[in-house]
Symmetry: C2
Subunit: 427 residues, 2 copies
């Protein structure tokens, strides 16, 4: 069967519009560590997938999954030690105030729980988000997706904080922090004026979907304080940011604040559906009592043992430190690109999560989504998987499994150099 | 560590109010087929768990999971054949109009998709449900949980159809069908009067949470027709009803209608998080185009191979027919209980899904939730796991894995006889 025949079957079975990456989609059949292999045997270095954080087909995780699936996998209304142990281990990697977890299967479900938890705890309904975010796809959580500033509902947005295309040009970073905080204050006042009590503010700790902006110093902790003073809770979405990706266990450690509620997802199960929300004990108790929340597949022994196995590898292989070391090396090397190519105007990121800002006019900062997409397709053809992202779609997103090593960074840097040369000539 | 020590750790790690079954919770450590085993080595016959439909720790499913997890597990934006094949196989077991699937991880997510799909397709917002239902736990889907008749929002309920406690006493079944349909018609009119265009009606095909009522003949197909005439779509929630449980592949085959949209969940992955929505191709295409839906862990090669393995076992072991045969035997035997014990007033069900209606006064039909709970606890102590359910919590729910055999039914019937005798004396 050809890829075209498979594509036709796929359109019928899954529907037209089930999006595929790349102009010519890849038919991936095998994974191992940082590598993926297509049906023709071509090898790709994976710089896209954050979910298989400890590497594709990690043997320790597969073994734990196999052992537990062959022993027991039931819901959480029977007593079982594994899920308790897993929750305790997760908590030990968090700020000491964050002790108690509600498990779910997906990040969307985690953000549903986080929002409900804030609403039950505060009695409020108003949620503040940023204007170029994505936090999931349910009816309620979708309202947080690319929410225009100035809305009138229970979910309202502020401009996400950044220094590259700041809310006001020519201001200092300190002034910028004040300006972005004033936006948060404005929405708090508007909620109050409209009789919608504040429940909280929910943001990605590193604004991953917004394009990994450099955040004016102090913004995060001061925004959290502002929200708390107004009676709300500050929710960190760590679905993309967390679990060693940014070189610390959680994004909030990198961007300098302590959240009241944290949602977690993608990498927790290395691809097994596992997500959840951690918060202070009293917030979770109140949520459990009010919501009577139950999730058939969550908090299961199988989720627990997969999650425990992922923590084993992260801890034993010290992958947070690897994210620091290899991430710093990669970004140091990338830092020289803007001086050589006008198309790449900015290099940003934390740990093993980097973004390259693609522009068609350096001075005007004109976003060049097409350029970023072209680069991603050319890199794919050379055996390197990346994608484009960001508020304007013009950020090349580099986010490999955390077992990514310096040798893989060097391979990628070579290929990126070739692509830039092909697209823009000699530097 | 004692169970009490584990309970204390659990309250801290997962929160107070993370509900456990039974007055003295069981610490289950192993499963095999229809059996579960606790930490003291006690064996239980499982008559509760519908999720492990092909049996606890099914070797074929575990093998497929292991093989695929050790090969590849990535998101669905790369081309992959397994998920296409799985969707095709699911469709082959459905009405021929239902061709195209959107996969999710949980039943809640499936019902989110189903409601969005109906709303995108119709342009309407109004959803009709029944008044003692449960369809999931997100902000939107929670609105379908025990929704009082007479509400004014976008989601409004009708009394669920039944013959045991009918909407009007002393009427024939044909009159009852008319009366329940009139309720659907009334809500359709109220939506229209309130300027809320109808999107559809969403019900469990066998009203499992309502207590498996006997449905006045013709209600389901006529309700679907009524909803379609008003511009809506008819959505069958098959999360509990489907996948051979009722003695056919789907509940809608048993209760006699063809839905426009079907949500599926619990048993699909035998405990692996796997759920989805199947509908006509044009409905899915429209949803995909409008919603740009993506689910990180869904439509993965791992979900696909686990789902395929479950279908293998259901097909090869002919478990639909087993549900017919053993279910009929079990319900035939149970049918003699009401004549012997006044406390058990009604025996209902389909395939391997049965309910016993517990009452404290046979003539007044006074629901006896305490009696059903007491019976469940006594059965647990004898090594049989069941629970109580239903609109009034007084229905003993019998819903074993589909590999349940006549020998297991006989063991259960013996224990039930003992419990009834202990609770109510000789019959």
């Amino acid at each position: 069967m050809t890829d075209n025949e498979l594509l036709a079957r796929r359109e019928r079975a899954l529907g037209k519009g089930a999006y595929l990456f790349y102009r010519e989609p890849v038919n991936i059949v095998r994974g191992e560590g940082v590598y993926l292999f297509d049906d023709a045997g071509n090898r790709y270095v994976d710089l896209y997938n954050n979910v298989p954080c400890v590497g594709h087909a990690n043997a320790h995780v597969v073994e734990a999954m196999t052992k537990q699936a062959g022993t027991l996998n039931v819901h959480s209304r029977y007593l079982h030690e594994s899920i308790v142990k897993y929750a305790e281990r997760l908590s030990a990697h968090h700020d000491k105030s964050l002790t108690t977890t509600v498990f779910t299967c997906t990040g969307t479900e985690a953000n549903e729980v986080a929002i409900m938890m804030a609403r039950f705890a505060t009695g409020g309904r108003g949620i503040i988000c940023t204007d170029a975010a994505y936090h999931g796809n349910s009816e309620e959580v979708r309202k947080l997706t690319h929410t225009p500033v100035g809305g009138k509902g229970e979910i309202r947005s502020v401009p996400f904080p950044q220094t590259y295309r700041p809310i006001k040009e020519g201001t200092s970073e300190a002034e910028l922090a004040d300006l972005y905080l004033a936006e948060v204050g404005r929405v708090i006042e508007e909620f109050a004026a409209d009789g919608i009590p504040l429940a909280g503010m929910l943001v990605c700790s590193i604004f991953a979907n917004e394009g990994l902006p450099n955040i004016p110093a102090g913004f995060m902790s001061r925004a959290a304080e502002l929200v708390r003073q107004a009676g709300g809770l500050f929710i960190a979405d760590e679905v993309q940011a967390g679990l060693c990706r940014p070189g610390r266990w959680w994004g909030y450690e990198v961007t300098g604040f302590v959240p009241d509620i944290v949602s977690m997802g993608k990498p927790l199960g290395n691809g097994f559906p596992l997500a959840g929300v951690i918060a202070r004990e009293e917030l979770v108790n109140q949520f459990r009592t009010s919501a009577r929340y139950f999730n058939t597949f969550a908090s299961s022994p199988l989720q627990a043992e997969v999650g425990n196995a992922v923590l084993d590898v992260l801890e034993n292989e010290n992958l947070c430190q690897n994210a620091v070391n290899v991430g710093a090396y990669l970004r140091d090397q990338l830092a020289s690109v803007p001086a050589r190519y006008d198309a790449v105007a900015d290099v940003r990121g934390h740990g093993l999560f980097a973004g390259l800002e693609w522009v068609s006019d350096r001075a005007a900062k004109t976003p060049d989504r097409k350029g970023a997409v072209e680069a991603a397709n050319r890199l794919k053809n050379k055996g390197f998987l990346v994608s484009n992202a960001g508020a304007l779609g013009n950020v090349l997103k580099i986010r490999p499994p955390l077992v990514f090593a310096r040798q893989h960074a060097d391979l990628f840097l070579g290929a990126l150099g070739e692509v830039l040369q092909e697209m823009y000539g000699h530097s």
